[in-house]
Symmetry: C2
Subunit: 492 residues, 2 copies
């Protein structure tokens, strides 16, 4: 497709000046409309080296109010970024509602330059394509408009521009040997890029290829493409309003493969469990050290009924772990800033560094539990969350080389009442029990249904759930630690 | 002082177990009280290598609710951090109100290991001590409680512990040659550390030295010191409530050395200015490139009356600058998350990287302008802000090697009205004028007074104000660009 483009197109000065003035005004108005309608926008500018990415970026931001956009220039990842999965640095830069994020180069250039060095690059690039398409689809589902531009020039044109840059002392440093190296492989790259563009040109985030030989023609087309796409987004948002409210028709999940039970099959004395626990804690210390040395990250997440013993379990698991190598995240309702983003954004931001452990006391599963039951999100939102979560977890595990251990802590309704009452009568624990806990308890059956569906839909082979029978706290602690140690050992 | 300590102290098991249980409970209660009273707390744990910093950290966090604290393990700065001034990485980690930030090693270890390598380390360490004391005083003035612990062991004890670690395969990797190197200089380091501790032991952030030979004695003393200090903070907060309200007694500043005028001394035609501007813009492109290549950061800030032309001026200054090398920050009221921090926190977070330019459309001076006039902060807050700002700017400039260009854009009251009316009658500009602008105009005299005081108190030799006579927009643009180019040239 790229090969068939006419790269000789130009525009006369009069048309350029007149049209540009109109587009500039329009873009500036559109930015305010996006802000007022709280639509987040991502603009991706990609292209060949020396195709005019900087020039086009400069042209666009002339019309944008600096209060409402952020420009991200994407180069090699920093140390911090290298210690996270591929998409992490892009996820954390996604715009909040009503803002524009402008990417001068993006995940596309990074994917190509990461993968093309590998022997089996076709296969690994195919994997990145899936990841990218999922990423963009998830953002688009959440209301983000994504406009992608590719600036296309011929091999000849690129050669002329690189030589011109070399002659100018202000730009000569930009033309490194590796830029020339890439240039010499223009002809081999062309079909790869063509294919990459085709496979990532989706309904929700199509590519726009700009013939970028003539400077004025390029700028005009960058503007008109942006204006056209953003106008569509602004019109579209008027038509479809996201629906909020209680779930109406529940899709019955397939029979849950995960058996829930609150009572352990074996029973041993507390002292016996404590002894086992102590030796497991020492073993965990060693496992933690090995993860650190081999730079493998690990996520451990706890979901469970109120008073199922998540906090106490976490404390026991982390007993001898070096506090510098793990974090505990206790997840409550998102704060106002977090609400302005895709619901996965705040969790992805917290991804552990290579070699670190992140322990979650509640997690992204809140979307399909409390948010579903309490109506804090729309039906469509929690219903599509199963797929989003499965994609996120698979993406995380395969691209970080780590693991994810997911615990569902099951207690019986009776045991929960007993624990609530105990908390209420102990002055040191009374702060742990609130009216909300009692209110949640009244919705036991609704939660029960949501839990079943969650376990059925998100217990994947790569990230299965482990049910912890938690009526016996000591048993629960031993089981959690055993599971974590086994999963860690499998990674080493 | 360190030399005189008795390092042989121990504690018996019974006292340890009984006292520890009490302290743990108390610490956990204190954390909730800090949260409820919205007091931010910083806990710094420092000490010799192998003195038990990790062990003490582990002990403390056993009693803390993970939802309310963050542990920062401070090692060598990352790439990102190296591109910012020394205190940046600590400023951005200061806790929001009601939270605890626990630093396992901190600016103290970093200052020592950075400075001790330099030939004239005494002088440069003295500078760091001033910076650290200012940093801690500013946080303390803002309500942060700072508890600093130093774990002290003898040279002999350190040797034994390092040897013990070397024998254990799980810890042997921790004992690097440089750790031994530092150990061999224990005797020379002792007086330096002693002096460092003495000079940074202030009324608002005193040091607590813990004799750290015996493990149990150490833990007990870490706990008792924490509990004692946090209790004092919680009690103190009850007594003194910060006052809010309008300024009562204004301290008259010394005669302003900065002359304010809205009319330029020279007058040339618009076309003439535009021609000059075009060549200055090209020159600026070159300056920007040189800053980038030499890794020198630059901050340019604009303050001025509404409609003084800040936005248009910034666009002209940045006309040909590579957008990847600068950011424009338009400062409005702090968002809820930012309000939970010291008012300088959000600006320090935005410090430009080495080689980058940050342009501020309004800035931290809002504290002594709009916040003062509108009563958005207490008298004490804006009154101490002059010193805080002067310290921050000096710190920034000396530790980054960059510069700060500060513009006050002065327009006459008549010219402002003319521009307001023009905006109101132009459909493309009407969004730029709000009722608030007209309301602010009614307080002209109050702002006038605040501006005079600001210019008098914060025009320092290292970061002077430049008044731009802005009744003529084109003159203003030329003057701004000329000033920036001159300041940049002085850096190169």
């Amino acid at each position: 497709m790229l090969e068939k483009l006419d790269l000789t197109r130009t525009v006369d000065d009069k048309t350029f000046n007149e049209s540009l003035a109109g587009y500039k005004e329009r873009l500036s108005v559109l930015q305010r409309m996006l802000r007022d309608q709280k639509i987040p926008a991502i603009i991706v500018i990609e292209g060949w080296n020396a195709s005019g990415i900087t020039m086009s970026t400069q042209a666009i931001i002339q019309s944008l109010d600096p209060r409402g956009f952020t420009l991200h220039s994407i180069d090699r990842p920093t140390e911090e970024e290298q210690m996270r999965p591929f998409l992490w640095r892009f996820w954390i830069r996604t715009p909040s509602r009503g803002r524009i994020a402008l990417f001068a180069r993006s995940w596309y250039t990074r994917a190509l330059s990461d993968e093309m060095q590998k022997p089996a690059w076709k296969k690994s690039l195919a994997k990145k394509i899936r990841s990218i398409n999922n990423f963009e689809r998830q953002l688009s589902d959440d209301g983000t408009v994504i406009v992608k531009l590719f600036l296309h020039i011929s091999r000849e044109e690129q050669k002329n521009r690189l030589e011109e840059r070399e002659r100018n002392p202000l730009t000569a440093w930009l033309v490194t040997p590796s830029i020339w190296h890439v240039h010499h492989h223009y002809d081999e790259s062309l079909p790869v890029i063509d294919d990459f563009i085709e496979k990532t040109s989706t309904g929700y985030a199509p590519w726009n290829v700009i013939e970028a030989t003539d400077r004025k023609y390029t700028i005009l087309n960058v503007y008109s493409t942006l204006v056209k796409n953003l106008e569509k987004a602004v019109e579209g948002a008027k038509e479809v309003k996201p629906k909020k409210g209680k779930p109406k028709e529940l899709v019955k999940p397939k029979k849950s493969p995960v058996k829930r039970s609150s009572t352990p099959e074996e029973t041993r004395s507390k002292e016996d469990y404590q002894q086992t626990l102590a030796s497991l804690q020492i073993e965990m210390l060693e496992m933690h050290y090995l993860l650190f040395k081999r730079k493998i990250p690990l996520i451990i997440l706890y979901e469970g009924w109120d008073a199922a013993g998540k906090g106490g379990n976490i404390t026991r698991v982390a007993r001898y772990m070096n506090p510098l190598g793990y974090d505990v995240f206790s997840i409550t309702a998102p704060d106002p800033g977090e609400k302005e983003h895709h619901y996965l954004w705040r969790f992805i931001r917290q991804y552990p560094k290579a070699g670190h452990v992140a322990i979650y006391d509640r997690s992204w599963y809140g979307r399909v539990l409390v948010e579903r039951v309490e109506g804090f999100c729309s039906d469509a939102e929690w219903q599509r969350a199963y797929q989003e979560i499965n994609e996120m977890e698979e993406e995380y595990i395969t691209s970080s080389g780590g693991a994810m251990v997911k615990f569902w802590m099951e207690v019986s309704k009776d045991e929960q009442r007993r624990r609530f009452q105990q908390r209420a009568s102990d002055p040191l624990k009374i702060h742990k029990i609130t009216d909300e806990d009692w209110r949640n308890r009244e919705k036991w059956d609704l939660y029960d249904e949501a839990i079943d569906e969650m376990l059925a839909r998100t217990s994947t082979s790569i990230a299965p759930w482990t049910v912890i029978e938690s009526d016996d706290k000591w048993y629960a602690r031993v089981k959690a630690l055993t599971t974590i140690i086994d999963s860690t050992r499998a990674l080493l």
